[in-house]
Amino acid sequence: MSALSLAVRDSNTMLRRNLLHARRYPSLTLNLLLTPIMLLLLFVYIFGDVMSTGIGGADRSDYIAYIVPGILMMTIGGTVIGTAVSVATDMNEGIIARFRTMAIHRGSVLVGHVVGSVLQCIASVVLVGAVAVAIGFRSTNATALEWLAAFGLLALFALALTWIAVGMGMASPNAEAAGNSAQPLILLPLISSAFIPADTMPGWFQPIAEYQPFTPAIETLRGLLLGTGIGNNGWIAIAWCVGLTVLGYRWSTASFNRDPK
């Protein structure tokens, strides 16, 4: 068996193991979906009219259109917290030591986690997206190409945040610590352009909202889903995603290859 097919086969085995965990214990993943869904409902049904006026819209449905892309990105941020927790839990399990003493592809443990996490992110986005559609979100002006690009962006963003979360999970001594250190991944959207446009924020705060990965990613997704154009946000978002992926990848593999305690 060639090195590549060995790597694919072992990674696939690890992926199936992680998906089995997720299927056996869905509560962790489902709990993490509560935050974006609750915020979506809260901002639409409770604050919706005021928020809509704030962004210069006519009624609540304009605000639904504005907020949903941000909520979808936030869903990814929330889902990867679960990844950080499960990686940290896994690293404390004796079975990881067993994997390390077996003649398997070395990276397969991490690859299994990463692919599993991206698939879970996509499933989560589909679920939250379904809620959004149910309360009236429509993406009628987008072309098929824009739809495809939106999906690609979501997957790429999920990959980037997943690698960061895996790194956090590897660096944490236990599941609680991993959950805490990954919290910013669901909090960052709150200070992005997810809920209100960055240029309506106080001047001193605008750089904080602008120079972080969520804002360009959300702006791009919004432009793609609503068919309103994305400007140069697309490139900025891709640059963030690639940068975070490389950073998270190097961080995670360095931690994994270190001698265990």
């Binding site: 085995t13 056996r24 004796g94 067993r98």
Partner: protein
């Protein structure tokens, strides 16, 4: 060691060193384990037994040493070593979130067995380790003994020729311990080499072909159980009395004995041979001493262990409460 013999060695280590910061855990250890034998590394807690296993099983790297496992150099070809070994660590290396059967199939997949072969191997091992009933239950619901059995069963999936067992019976009840011993013997009868660490002396005595005593990062002694026992004195005949007066007069009459006033027992040095026993009995008869109980104590690995593993331990003989009734 010559090159001709190193071929038949399953594990060969020369000058193995490992330290964490300025704490030296292993200070130049030599090991030679012939293929198809049970080798036991014995030592008190914290002696570095687990570190040896972790290094030889490629989990962590050594600071120095010429190390070969299954004929492969640990530093140069760790993947080849991994393909030859199976490891059951001190803490159970099972996936608690999935079932026992799923754990076994996971191992089969990682050993690249075909689907049918994997199922067959898993079923066979589950049967052999008496886990068929529990196979469909999550491992988190297993008892300690069941987890251990599953752990070993998983280690055996790929048919490893060299197996490391790090304290395999720690925390097991006596019945499970004996089951485990049976399993280990069975493995070796099939030609597998077993490297076993334990803190139970009777376990090493029972199982191991050769034993090394690890103390303070060094091998304090190495040999068969009998060879090690010959290293330390400690054989004696123990006479126990129920009547304090009889005890007193016997103690006075025999003089050259060790007294244990609390237990009303006397100890006469002896190598346990028939000739010496007869001599002692004759001597007792001639002095008119009648003990209520006579036991022969041959040195056991406890004596070796206490004698070899450092100054902080209990003095060896004659105050050892341990008794071997024959």
């Amino acid at each position: 060691m010559t090159t001709t013999t190193s071929h038949s060695l399953a594990i060969a280590a020369k000058g193995l060193r490992k330290s964490y910061g300025d704490k030296t855990v292993l200070d130049g250890i030599d090991l030679a384990v012939p293929a198809g034998t049970i080798f036991s590394l014995l030592g008190p807690n914290g002696a570095g037994k687990t570190t040896v296993v972790k290094i030889l099983s490629t989990l962590i790297t050594a600071d120095a040493g010429d190390l070969h496992v299954g004929g492969h150099d640990l530093a140069a070809a760790p993947q080849a070593v991994r393909a030859a070994i199976g490891v059951t660590g001190q803490f159970s290396a099972v996936d608690g979130l999935i079932t026992g059967e799923e754990n076994m199939l996971l191992m089969a997949d990682l050993h690249h067995l075909s689907r049918s072969e994997g199922r067959r191997t898993a079923a066979e091992l589950l049967e052999r380790f008496d886990l068929v009933e529990a196979a469909k239950k999550p491992v988190s619901t297993y008892s300690g003994g069941m987890k251990r059995r599953l752990d070993i069963a998983m280690t055996l999936v790929g048919g490893p020729r060299i197996i490391f067992l790090d304290e395999p019976t720690t925390g097991l009840d006596p019945r499970s311990r004996h089951t485990m011993w049976g399993i280990i013997r069975e493995l070796v009868s099939g030609g597998v080499t077993v490297f076993l660490t334990t803190q139970y002396l009777d376990e090493a005595d029972e199982l191991a072909d050769r034993i090394a005593v690890l103390s303070d990062g060094k091998i304090a002694a190495e040999g068969s159980a009998d060879e090690l026992k010959r290293l330390v004195p400690g054989g004696h005949v123990r006479l126990r009395f129920t009547d304090p007066a009889a005890y007193q007069s016997a103690a006075v009459a025999l003089r050259e004995v060790t007294r244990d006033d609390e237990a009303l027992a006397l100890q006469i040095p002896s190598d346990g041979s028939q000739r010496e026993l007869r001599a002692i009995l004759d001597w007792l008869d001639s002095t008119g001493i009648e003990a209520d109980e006579l036991t022969v104590h041959t040195p056991d690995l406890d004596d070796v262990f206490f004698a070899l593993t450092g100054p902080t331990t209990v003095p060896t003989q004659p105050n050892q409460p341990k008794e071997n009734v024959r």
